[in-house]
């Protein structure tokens, strides 16, 4: 059976011509409850990867990396808040960029492939075309201000 087509199939296939594997090797479908920063109420961009967000924050070509076509998620609520807290110390208006809520989302094997989580629990989801991960929100809570 051929693999399901990705949401951004054309863009991902361009990496192949550059000799870059995208999604990266090791990215696999998985069932996981994950956390993502969102706005409340949700907007159309809350589940868009950085490469298609407007206005874009990608100033240079090298940033049009494979990961910019994926959704960022964290493995746990604590890790999601810790990462947000770390960034907010430096970037004061980060709530305007990523939202001020954290949603927990059911990611299933039907949604796409997930990269291996890094040490802060962050991973990327490269969505399949049929993914409706934005409809699988189990709950949403405000990000405390300040984060304890």
């Amino acid at each position: 059976m051929s693999p399901a087509p990705y949401r951004f199939m054309t863009e991902l296939s361009e990496f192949q011509s550059l000799g870059v594997q995208c999604p990266p090797a090791g990215a696999v479908p998985r069932d996981v409850l994950a956390w993502r920063w969102v706005a409340n109420p949700l907007t159309g961009q809350c589940f868009d990867p950085p490469a298609v967000r407007n206005p874009t924050r990608l100033l240079e070509d090298p940033h049009k990396a494979c990961a910019s076509w994926a959704l960022s998620l964290h493995l746990s609520h604590e890790q999601s808040l810790a990462a947000f807290k770390g960034l907010e110390k430096k970037i004061k208006k980060i709530r305007k960029l990523f939202g001020d809520h954290v949603a927990n989302v059911y990611v299933t094997q039907a949604d796409g492939v997930c990269t291996a989580p890094d040490r802060s629990g962050h991973f990327d989801l490269h969505q399949y075309k049929t993914s409706a991960v934005h409809e699988n929100i189990a709950g949403m809570s405000p990000i405390p201000c300040p984060i304890p």
Partner: protein, 362 residues
């Protein structure tokens, strides 16, 4: 994802957008779904931080902050905070981007006092939890003091030639040893595939400066000369060691003779096979070569690496994705520069890594 429609007004002086024209991206230091804090080099080789500040539904607001070599080192090592960096800056330029990220709109020169609401927290250190791998690698490589010992008769052109040649060799090794850095890799790929369709060896030695942050450049920390004397540098020691290995070959009479024979025989081979550009460093156009010639050129590249005791460089060099002819041209260009140091090395007028100057304790 903005909760307000417009950005707060910032007082400052309008500047021309050409301010940005020679800024080169070096590395992202903090990123999440794209860059939030990046290191750039400016027109005059100064380090600049680009920091994301704010957004509206239609634009992003960024700040450009000058940062000294010392502050950059300390920020990467988490001994000063981003707030300290803001407050140490004499000016900050803000600009805006819309749907076209390469257009820097409405640039204003201001100061951090006018940007209070964007001022990071007191403890805004670049902790490993939020810094990129690139930032961590920049921090790991630390410069050390290194002496170019000088002795004997020196003329003003000698004093100009030695540091310039040394800088070019250093730049070459920096490129080969930092291919893991996206900015270095992109620059080398660009140099290797520039618009003329050729490969300019000259740019190999100069183009990398734009992607070498100050903390990795060879900085002069002391110059003293009263025969003997020295130029003391703060540089990456592993690159200095590479140059020492090459310099030993050029200083040793037997090794030098071997290298000269290699150079002469390569020249003859170019001539016999009508390959131009043996010593033309600016016009290395791609030409069609027969498989036999390609094989021979590859052998010559291998042979040069053996002569220089650089066998461990072979893999990095192949990663440049240029053919053996361009590889060989780049190596010959390196050799011509290295050879300029031989008169000094052979007569002990130049000592790499040591100084004859006796420093009297104060």
């Amino acid at each position: 994802m903005s909760d307000s429609l417009s950005l707060p007004k910032v007082n400052g002086t309008k500047i021309e957008s050409k301010f940005f024209s020679k800024h080169s991206w070096n590395a992202d230091l903090i990123e999440f779904d794209g860059p939030l804090l990046s290191l750039y080099k400016g027109e005059f080789d100064e380090d600049l931080l680009y920091v994301w500040l704010d957004c509206s539904p239609t634009k992003n607001r960024w700040g450009v902050i000058p940062i000294s070599r010392t502050n950059l080192r300390e920020y990467l090592e988490c001994t000063i905070s981003l707030r300290d960096v803001f407050q140490a800056s004499r000016w900050i330029v803000i600009f805006h981007t819309g749907s076209a990220p390469n257009r820097r709109n409405s640039p204003i020169r201001t100061t951090w006092q006018a940007l209070e609401e964007y001022l990071p927290d007191d403890d805004s250190y670049l902790v490993p939890e939020i810094s990129t791998v690139a930032a961590q690698r920049l921090a790991q490589e630390v410069c050390e003091e290194y002496a170019l010992g000088l002795d004997g008769d020196m003329y003003i052109d000698d004093i100009a030639s030695i540091p310039r040649t040394y800088q070019q060799l250093y730049s070459f090794h920096y490129g080969l040893e930092h291919l893991h850095r996206s900015a270095v890799r992109a620059t080398l790929d660009r140099l290797a595939n520039n618009w003329t369709g050729g490969f300019s060896a000259v740019h190999l030695f100069t183009g990398l400066n734009q992607v070498t942050p100050s903390i990795h450049r060879a900085q002069v920390t002391e110059m003293r000369y009263n025969s003997p004397g020295h130029i003391k540098l703060d540089l990456l020691p592993q690159l200095a060691k590479r140059i020492e290995v090459a310099a030993r070959q050029i200083a040793d009479d037997v090794a030098f003779q071997g290298l000269e024979e290699f150079y002469a025989s390569t020249y003859r081979y170019f001539k016999e096979n009508n390959i131009s550009g043996f010593d033309d460093e600016t016009d290395g156009k791609t030409i069609n070569l027969t498989p036999r010639v390609v094989k021979r050129l590859n052998e010559l590249v291998d042979f040069f690496f053996r002569l220089m005791h650089w066998q461990d460089y072979r893999e990095q060099f192949s990663a440049l994705q240029v053919g053996p002819l361009h590889q060989l041209r780049a190596l010959l260009a390196y050799y011509r520069r290295l050879r300029k140091l031989r008169p000094y090395l052979a007569t002990d007028r130049l000592l790499l890594g040591q100084s004859k100057l006796v420093v009297q304790p104060v």
